[in-house]
């Protein structure tokens, strides 16, 4: 073969190798970004998988807080919140609400008494299209400090290794505070008597652009009548849902929305740490629950109460949970809405 053809072939092969390397490197960078090359990365899918009970997840249902019932009503804003945030929900007025009372448990069929923690999903919409969503729980503190710790807790509590929980508790001393609450705080026999806490902190932005770090709670107007877990169990596995439906059927039930402002130096990045009780707290309005509907056909079923869905005037803070929750709730939402066939829409007495 003449020299020139040979060298031209060499150049072409060289070029083909260059092309293969460039294309291969691009594909590898994509795979790396997607996490396919780093199986150790904590992904939303992993956390959601870890929430599943031993028998697998309940298809068509939320992957956590699976048992719940929808409500609608109004947020009656008293205008006081406007000093903290420009969110339109804080301008005095009445705004429509969709929400969901729920139990912090991954099975929709669990008996009420098996869930120590209860929750509320809440959406407040204002006429200008702004939406504020929140998902709050009855515990006054979260069991763990970081999303990674939450995953470790799920792994430890689902583990067959008898020492797994012991190891977890040793490594996460804040968990003890949660256990302390869980074992000493009174139980109630009604969602209407429960207090629901955001736990996570958020930033409110006022009219002058000033930032305040806040947490909020819904404080029940109904007074608390304590009940022992044993007595609650005797009322039946689904007592809470029928109770709240009856109660709201007789009269609307209300909660005060109280916003607590952090002082400089308060721990704003860790929902397992309560702020001192003397922090400035402002009552910004009243949540009035006017109607309760079964979830199967209710307006809350296909809502994702993602705590990062915030109106203008509110932002996430340095608390790492809302981001993690948003990512995980999206996975749960994508899965459950794709499983509609497994959750008949007319079940459990819902109106078709």
């Amino acid at each position: 073969m003449p020299q020139s053809i040979l060298s031209e072939m060499r150049a072409k092969i060289g070029s083909l190798i260059v092309i293969a390397v460039i294309v291969g490197a691009s594909a590898a960078a994509f795979a790396y970004t997607a996490g396919w090359l780093t199986p150790g990365r904590l992904t939303p899918v992993k956390v959601v998988d870890a929430l599943a009970p031993p028998g697998g997840p309940a298809l068509g249902h939320r992957r956590n807080h699976a048992k719940g019932i929808c409500f609608t009503g109004a947020f009656q804003s008293n205008g006081a919140g406007a000093s903290l945030s420009t969110a339109t929900a804080f301008a005095a007025g009445h705004y429509p609400v969709i929400g969901r009372f729920n139990l912090a448990i991954a099975s929709p069929d669990a008996a009420d008494v098996t869930a120590r923690v209860r929750g509320m999903g809440l959406q407040i919409a204002t006429p200008n299209g702004q939406v504020w969503r929140s998902a709050m729980i009855t515990a006054p503190i979260f069991p763990v400090s970081t999303p990674q710790d939450f995953y470790d807790l799920l792994r430890a509590s689902g583990s067959k290794d008898p020492n797994a929980m012991k190891t977890f508790v040793a490594a996460n001393p804040e968990f003890g505070n949660f256990v302390q609450w869980a074992t000493t705080a009174p139980w109630t026999s009604s969602y209407a008597e429960d207090r629901f806490n955001s736990l996570d902190s958020f930033i409110f932005v006022d009219g002058s652009g000033q930032h305040q770090v806040v947490r909020w709670s819904l404080i029940p107007i109904a007074s608390l009548v304590p009940i022992s877990p044993g007595d609650l169990a005797k009322r039946g596995p689904n007592y809470l849902e029928s109770e709240i439906a009856d109660r709201v059927g007789k009269a609307p039930q209300s909660w005060t929305l109280a916003v607590t402002v952090a002082n400089a130096g308060d721990q704003t990045d860790d929902p397992s740490k309560a702020w001192p009780a003397d922090r400035r707290t402002i009552a910004v309005g009243t949540l009035v629950v006017q109607q309760v509907e079964p979830e199967a056909n209710g307006p809350c079923r296909d809502i994702n109460f993602d705590p990062t869905v915030l109106p203008a005037g509110m932002m996430t803070s340095n608390d790492p949970f809302p981001a993690a929750r948003s990512a995980a709730y999206a996975v749960s939402y994508d899965r459950r809405t794709a499983e509609a066939a497994d959750y008949p829409r007319t079940a459990t007495g819902g109106t078709p």
Partner: protein, 183 residues
């Protein structure tokens, strides 16, 4: 629609390279955001939505420019199947550049998420809340994203093949700066 011109117009080249950067960024942001639980997730989502809508706007402008300005002819010695592949892939690119953002927007609408772009600036919902629609659109957005990336890799390989192996001037038609034709 092909005209006897050596290169794509300046506007076409500018749009091509600007959009190439944006689309690659979108694909990486997309797969990166859905695989992390860290606060980066929110930052990436907050870029993904407005950038995706910007791509929709640019794609519509680009389609108009392409219909107006046309494209230089491919080399006459290029085998027919390769010409067909080139033309077909360009049609698919235009379709994806327009459909992907619409799917993202529609998917969020069908899940009743507010489609917030910046601060209080948000897009209207284009579909009612519907679980079946959401699933359909989510699957389309998800799988077409991978089709998009695979096609870009092919397109990249083809462009480099033209530039380095065939040296037929095709790369120069789209090159951001004028290249002396090497042949």
């Amino acid at each position: 629609m092909t005209v006897a011109r050596q290169r794509f117009t300046v506007l076409q080249r500018a749009l091509h390279w600007l959009m190439a950067v944006c689309i690659l960024a979108m694909l990486f942001i997309g797969v990166g955001m859905v695989s992390t639980l860290t606060p980066k997730y929110l930052t990436l989502v907050q870029i993904h939505k407005p950038l995706g809508i910007a791509i929709l706007v640019l794609a519509l402008i680009r389609l108009g420019v392409r219909l107006r300005d046309g494209a230089p002819a491919l080399p006459s010695d290029l085998p027919e199947p390769m010409k067909l592949a080139a033309h077909l892939s360009h049609y698919i690119f235009y379709a994806l550049m327009i459909v992907m953002p619409l799917l993202g927007w529609a998917m969020l609408s069908a899940a009743s998420y507010p489609v917030v772009l910046f601060g209080s600036w948000h897009l209207p919902s284009i579909l009612p809340l519907n679980d079946g629609l959401h699933t359909l659109l989510w699957n389309a957005h998800h799988y077409l994203a991978f089709v998009f990336f695979a096609l870009i890799l092919l397109h990249l390989a083809a462009a480099l093949f033209h530039a380095l192996v065939r040296r037929d001037g095709v790369f120069a038609t789209m090159a951001p700066i004028s290249m002396r034709k090497v042949k």
